[in-house]
Symmetry: C2
DNA sequence: ATCCGCCAGATCGTATACAATATGCCTCGC
DNA sequence: GCGAGGCATATTGTATACGATCTGGCGGAT
């Protein structure tokens, strides 16, 4: 079905993220669940019972709990006291806030990254663009997933080029949550215009037109958000649904 | 000694931060340790032995571990596998990254916040400025701590005014880490010029001169960083110290 | 005297046990 | 038939237990 297993999970080196010192086990669980969420194999609202997850990985609830709490911290999981953990189901409002945050942050990142870019970095970006283009022309669920991931990787790649680990970690979280939101609210109509915009952005950077690049980036994020259907309340915010 | 206990910990409502669902206990421990770190009652590098902390709060290691991992995620604590948790000891490089991140983010936050500001918000800011001024004229350790906290609160207050919870959480973390860095690398010479700059910023916003406000904010953050002595490696980064 | 290995204490990593809480079903009374 | 109460089950919250790993000191060999 999907051959994602065989290819490296992501081009971007995940910064040792949190210094949680968590050994490989907890980390592995967390990463597995995170990928599953971002990839939409785990649908929003899905209950993540500690025992069940533990059974899957052959570990005790202790480790699972740790992983779930970490994911909660990243915003990919919500935990309700005495009720358990669920795959996050971001509200339209939360989605808007995520993209608003990105519009605030990413132009600045772009500027900062540009100051550190070497020819090798540009090559890396161009390769990424090629990959995106390839995925854009494929069909099927798995390709769409890969496309969302690749699209996020582009932004992460730029963030990584700032050499700023603090920034990179924030972006990591933002992109993960964005992916979740996109798979939740994304229209079926392919939002592949994104690819062209990525290309334009790289062109602008390479041409030294940083103002233009910044503007393009803001528009690009706007477009991503515009491609969502945030009118529908996709699921159970119950209170908002029931009370007038 | 310090009367901080009697006054509300912070003017800013901490957004339910992570949805860690963690019950009051773990949350309480985390907050207590966080405050102690940011307030510099716990010095960087201090070992936080799970058993000891647990004894202090009369809880088991389980909860302490959770709290420490959360703090690690926030960057206030580092955890070394099989060695335990320590109060973070941010390197000068990390300090630079934190302030670089703030310079990228905060102007945008300012713009966004300004769009939502009501007269009531301005009153709130003015009150904050008065508090800062009062603290500036006091002497003593406790006053200095309060000053650092108040200075951070100003920035948090603006972030809160964006109404963007995602953003607010990032800033929360950034400010906490900034406070830690300031108490680590801050010169004894009072960096109280900050207060005047805060005032100027509010003035600019109120006058609708957002460009000016943004520039002032960037400069302000630059000044905070400039007041640090990042040349000295304050403590044990060992590798960098030993290897030529 | 110095260095090496070994043992003991401390501390962490993980699993398990027990208590607390929520959920669903089932019965009982009306 | 319908609703209330209560028990059974499932799941979480917290504590404890046990094995693993690190740290530091002691004694013997060189």
């Amino acid at each position: 079905m999907n051959n994602r297993q065989t290819k490296p999970e992501s081009v971007i080196a995940r910064p040792d993220a949190d210094n949680t010192g968590a050994e490989g086990n907890q980390r592995a669980i967390r990463d597995a669940i995170r990928d599953a969420i971002v990839d939409r194999r785990l649908l929003p609202g899905t209950k993540l019972t500690e025992t069940d997850v533990g059974a899957l990985f052959n570990v005790s609830r202790t480790l699972v709990r740790g992983a779930l709490q970490a994911l909660a911290h990243e915003g990919l999981v919500t935990v309700e006291r005495n009720r358990g953990a669920f795959v996050a189901n971001p509200s339209p409002e939360e989605a808007r806030q995520i993209f608003a945050t990105r519009r605030i942050i990413e132009p600045g990142i772009l500027m900062e990254a540009a100051r550190h870019m070497t020819p090798s970095h540009f090559r890396q970006l161009r390769e990424q663009l090629v990959d995106e283009g390839r995925l854009m022309n494929e069909r099927g669920q798995s390709a769409r997933r890969a496309e969302i991931k690749a699209s996020g990787d582009f932004h992460l790649m730029i963030a990584a080029m700032t050499g700023n680990a603090v920034m990179q970690r924030f972006m990591d979280e933002l992109i993960a949550r964005s992916s979740l939101v996109i798979s939740l609210y994304g229209q079926s109509t392919v939002s592949s215009c994104g690819h062209n915009e990525h290309t334009e952005i790289v062109d602008a950077i390479e041409a030294g037109q940083m103002d233009r690049a910044s503007r393009l980036m803001v528009h690009h994020i706007h477009h991503i958000e515009a491609d969502l259907d945030l009118r529908v309340r996709r699921a159970n915010e119950l209170r908002d649904v029931l009370l007038p």
